[in-house]
């Protein structure tokens, strides 16, 4: 791992080689990713990967060039600037591109944990042995992955931005298996102490035991209690197809033309807030703009979308700090979604479920068929239960749902008062924070054999 001064000095020296009259930025992302995967309570994959990458962007005479390298020495950074310049010189743009961001106050938040950075393969193995033993006590096995990451993001640009943020994350997902049942639990945070592995193992085991020997149920409309992971799975896809300014401007989002209108129940408030410590906070986007809290749905009303500088320029507004950097221009994305809490406890919500389902998580959701109506489809997985009069009766075989998120968000009967952080894949930059929700009349179209 390189030190802050060394990285910023390398980037600043390279920046000085950008051509006269150009705008330029250099983004550094360095990571040591350590991961242990296991199945049937045995480790089958164990790795540590050290890598760092610099992406150089040069904007010159109306053209933009981007060049990246993972060899971080002065000569290769100079070569990247030269390559980006050469690319920029071969284009002209019909429209003037907005300038790179200038320095703005960046929120101060700790995103680094020393214990997590030094967590070793042996530490992970020792932790897992205890979990495997716990599952073994119930004649169950565990599968999953235990990941710890440590790294840094740094950014300099020709407008004076000079940023460095060290970052760590820890992520444990666990599946307990019996002969025909499975149960899931997960934890994610900036620190390995943000979750207790044994508590997760106990949860996964409990769900697996409850779901063993699952029964068939007919597809149809059911009231469902969606646990935080299932809510996060839906929210991630909803964001993909609708909470970005680009999709809104281009007319493919369900938010297009709806800002200011009611699109959900008044118990639904969804924001993007990268400074919320309940998630995986990170203070600036990959162009150096400060992350802002953005109301996407405010008490049921479509309130806003997230911007990078290009989408913001088009509407004459400011970036909300949602750029993915030079390699993904014009693609603002909400990475820190927060579904605000309600007032119910989980048990109160379960008690309201007269005949319906508890759903732990979804699998393989896709939402590209009809984005204007936010139509999603996917399968349930690893903990789907039949409930009668507030009591979990038995596990059920997995079901396919197909429903509009606009309809789902308009049919929420209760929102829990607590939330959980849910990983969305890239723990470096963010996670969802979700409550459990009780939804009336969720649509299932078909089933499967397990």
């Amino acid at each position: 791992m390189r030190e802050q001064d060394e990285i910023l000095s390398l980037l600043t020296d390279a920046l000085n080689e950008s051509p006269y009259g150009s705008e330029c930025d250099l983004l550094y992302v360095g990571q040591q990713k350590s991961l242990t995967r296991f199945t049937q309570s045995a480790i089958h994959q164990n790795l540590v990967v050290d890598d760092a990458r610099v992406v150089a962007r040069v904007m010159l005479d109306g053209g933009v060039g981007v060049a990246a390298t993972n060899e971080i020495i002065p000569e290769t950074l100079s070569a990247a600037i030269l390559k980006a310049t050469e690319i920029a010189r071969q284009q002209t743009q019909p429209e003037k591109l907005p300038s790179l961001p200038t320095p703005s106050p960046i929120g101060v938040i700790n995103t680094f944990d020393e214990q997590t950075a030094s967590f070793s393969p042996s530490d992970r193995a020792a932790s897992l042995i205890r979990l495997f033993n716990h599952a073994g006590n119930y004649r169950l096995t565990l599968s999953g992955a235990f990941t710890t990451e440590a790294g840094a993001v740094a950014l300099v640009n020709s407008s004076g931005i000079n940023l460095y943020q060290p970052v760590t994350s820890a992520d444990l997902n666990l599946l307990a298996f019996s002969h025909n049942g499975s149960g899931y639990a997960s934890g994610v945070g900036r620190s390995v102490s943000d979750f207790v592995p044994m508590e997760l193992a106990e949860k996964a085991v409990e769900k697996c035991l409850q779901g063993t020997d699952p029964k068939d149920i007919e597809p149809g409309e059911y009231d469902v209690l969606l646990e935080p992971q299932a809510v996060g799975d839906l929210l991630e896809w909803t964001s993909q197809i609708g909470f970005s300014a680009r999709e809104c401007q281009e007319g493919t989002s369900f938010m297009t033309g709806k800002l200011g209108e009611r699109i959900a129940g008044d118990n639904v408030t969804i924001v993007d807030d990268a400074m919320d410590p309940r998630g995986l906070p990170f203070p600036f986007d990959l162009e150096g703009a400060p992350k802002q809290r953005v109301f996407l749905i405010d008490r049921g009303v479509a309130a806003g979308v997230v911007h990078d500088r290009q989408s913001a320029e088009r509407e004459g507004v400011h970036s909300t700090g949602h750029s993915l950097g030079a390699e993904f221009p014009n693609r603002p994305l909400a990475l820190n979604l927060i579904f605000e809490t309600g007032t119910s406890t989980y048990q109160e919500m379960l008690a309201q479920l007269d005949r319906g389902l508890v759903i732990t998580r979804f699998h393989y959701i896709n939402g590209y068929l009809d984005t204007r109506n936010a139509l999603l489809t996917g399968m349930t997985r690893d903990g789907t239960f039949w409930v009668e009069r507030g009591l979990v009766k038995h596990g059920v075989k997995n079901l396919r749902f197909a429903d509009s998120m606009l309809r789902v968000l308009s049919n929420i009967a209760a929102v829990s008062s607590t939330t959980k952080a849910v990983s969305i894949g890239d723990d470096l930059l963010g996670a969802c924070v979700c409550p459990a929700i009780l939804v009336k009349g969720f649509k299932f179209t078909s089933g499967t054999d397990h």
């Binding site: 033309g257 996917g378 078909s446 397990h450």
Partner: protein
């Protein structure tokens, strides 16, 4: 660098590892994206590094570094051994690798026209021309084209004497138009959905696509979809075009035949497989005309190579023969479980990724006749084209896929256009309804660029030879 790899390999042998391999990769990836007449992005990315995989005391360890000095490689080798020792604390069964003869050889993918030597301006012009045509209707809100090309140099050494060298060039391209009205958005793509088509070929692959020549049709179909009726739900005979068949094969056959997945090592993310070990050799996967192969030797296929990332040569073998499931994609560790030698399907995304069992080119072998013949032979049905939606359960049984467009077929002739077509099924039941596959004249190896698997997620290119194919009495409709 090339001299250092055998030096480190010998060091690992001296340290007493059971097995080790070292893989150096150096890749250059470039791309250009034109959106609504503007260059949205031109980027060039280089990366290189070494991944070291060690088997020691019954445990696997993998460590990778972008530093390529002797000291860094020695440290990485030591780290891989430390990780293997930690794994061995929680290993349950003895790892046995299938015996494979040591390989010494080189492979270079076919490349007539080097994409790195084609001027950037020519690539931009090609996409700009296509976008100009796409934008000749105000209802087209997004006109987008992309060209991507890459070259990867790979050196592989293992402790059993295998030493191979490969150079693989990839070319890819596609265009898409999104038409928007007050309450709808519809997309058409060419030559396939999701950024088009890809191959391990040179720029000649992109030139033969005739992107500009297809732009007008793409535009007209996107606009027509805005006023087209919703695809009717119900049981229909459907013909899937080649690119949608590629996706169908990929999701419902390619993934469930990955033997590591069958053995449970993907349970934590992507799930398991319905093609369990007890089903090999007798399970009816599809109708008797279904013949599916794995073939990493097809020149130019996106899933083609000379050697996999365990140094095993590329191979062709049957997966489904006469409708019966017969074979898996396998690795050196998994193959002994079913009593065979490795199927040569271990592939890593890059130097910093551990190899996993991945699809090579998984192909539905061609049948007879043209698409026109097949349409003429269909009394009432739907022709669906270009994938838009894909979703399948964690054992690859219950699936729902959607396409960009459908045409009604009545009495052997194409009729009305329908929007938002989707179909679903249970994998072996669906393939059991396959009653016609078009012939070699309509067969093409489609490149899928975005196959994801593993943790950390690895994205890799696969190939799928397919022709338009008919399935009888399939459930159509997304919500009912």
């Amino acid at each position: 660098m090339k001299d250092l790899l055998p030096e480190i390999r010998d060091y690992l042998k001296r340290r007493g590892v059971d097995y080790a391999d070292l893989r150096f990769e150096s890749a250059i990836r470039e791309s250009v994206v034109v959106r609504n007449g503007s260059v949205e992005r031109v980027s060039s990315s280089q990366d290189q590094g070494v991944g070291i995989r060690v088997l020691l005391g019954g445990g696997w360890g993998f460590a990778a570094t972008s530093e390529t000095s002797r000291q860094a490689l020695r440290q990485t080798a030591n780290l891989a051994m430390d990780i293997a020792r930690a794994s061995a604390l929680v290993s349950r069964r003895k790892v046995v690798l299938s015996p494979e003869p040591a390989q010494k050889g080189t492979y270079r993918s076919p490349c007539k026209k080097d994409p790195f030597k084609v001027p950037l301006s020519a690539k931009i012009d090609l996409l700009a021309q296509a976008c100009d045509v796409l934008q000749k209707d105000d209802r087209i809100r997004v006109a987008r084209g992309n060209i991507r090309w890459s070259r990867t140099r790979k050196w592989f050494f293992n402790t059993e004497g295998t030493e191979t060298e490969q150079d693989i060039t990839v070319s890819a391209a596609g265009i898409a138009a999104t038409a928007v009205s007050d309450n709808d958005a519809q997309k058409r793509s060419f030559p396939a959905g999701h950024d088009g088509d890809a191959a391990t070929l040179g720029f000649e692959f992109i030139e033969q696509m005739d992107i500009a020549g297809n732009a007008e049709r793409v535009r007209e179909e996107a606009v027509a979809l805005l006023t087209a009726p919703e695809c009717p739900s119900g049981d229909w005979d459907i013909i899937l075009d080649g690119s949608q068949m590629a996706l169908q094969i990929h999701e419902s056959c390619g993934h469930p035949i990955e033997l590591d997945r069958v053995m449970g090592t993907e349970l934590s993310l992507a799930g398991g497989s319905f093609l369990t070990l007890d089903r090999q050799g007798h399970f009816r996967y599809g109708s008797p005309i279904v013949h599916i192969t794995a073939d990493a030797t097809i020149p130019g296929g996106r899933g083609s190579f000379g050697y996999d990332d365990e140094g095993v040569p590329a191979q062709r073998y049957d997966i489904v023969k006469d409708g019966i499931f017969v074979g898996y994609l396998s690795s050196r560790e998994t193959a002994p479980v079913i009593g065979v030698s490795s199927g040569g399907a271990m592939r890593a995304e890059g130097w910093n990724s551990i190899p996993l069992i991945r699809m090579t080119n998984i192909n539905l072998e061609p049948g007879k006749g043209s698409l026109e013949d097949l349409i003429a032979d269909t009394k009432k049905g739907l022709l669906m084209d270009a994938n838009r939606v894909w979703s399948i359960d964690d054992r690859r049984m219950n699936f729902q896929f959607g396409c960009e467009i459908a045409w009604e077929i009545e009495n052997g002739k194409l009729g009305r256009v329908f929007k938002n077509p989707a179909y679903r099924g249970i994998t072996p039941e669906f393939w059991g309804c396959c009653d016609a596959i078009c012939g070699p004249e309509n067969w093409h190896v489609w490149g899928v660029s975005n196959c994801g698997k593993g943790e950390p997620m690895q994205t890799i290119g696969t190939g799928h030879g397919a022709a338009p194919t008919r399935f009888r009495s399939v459930r159509v409709g997304a919500e009912k």
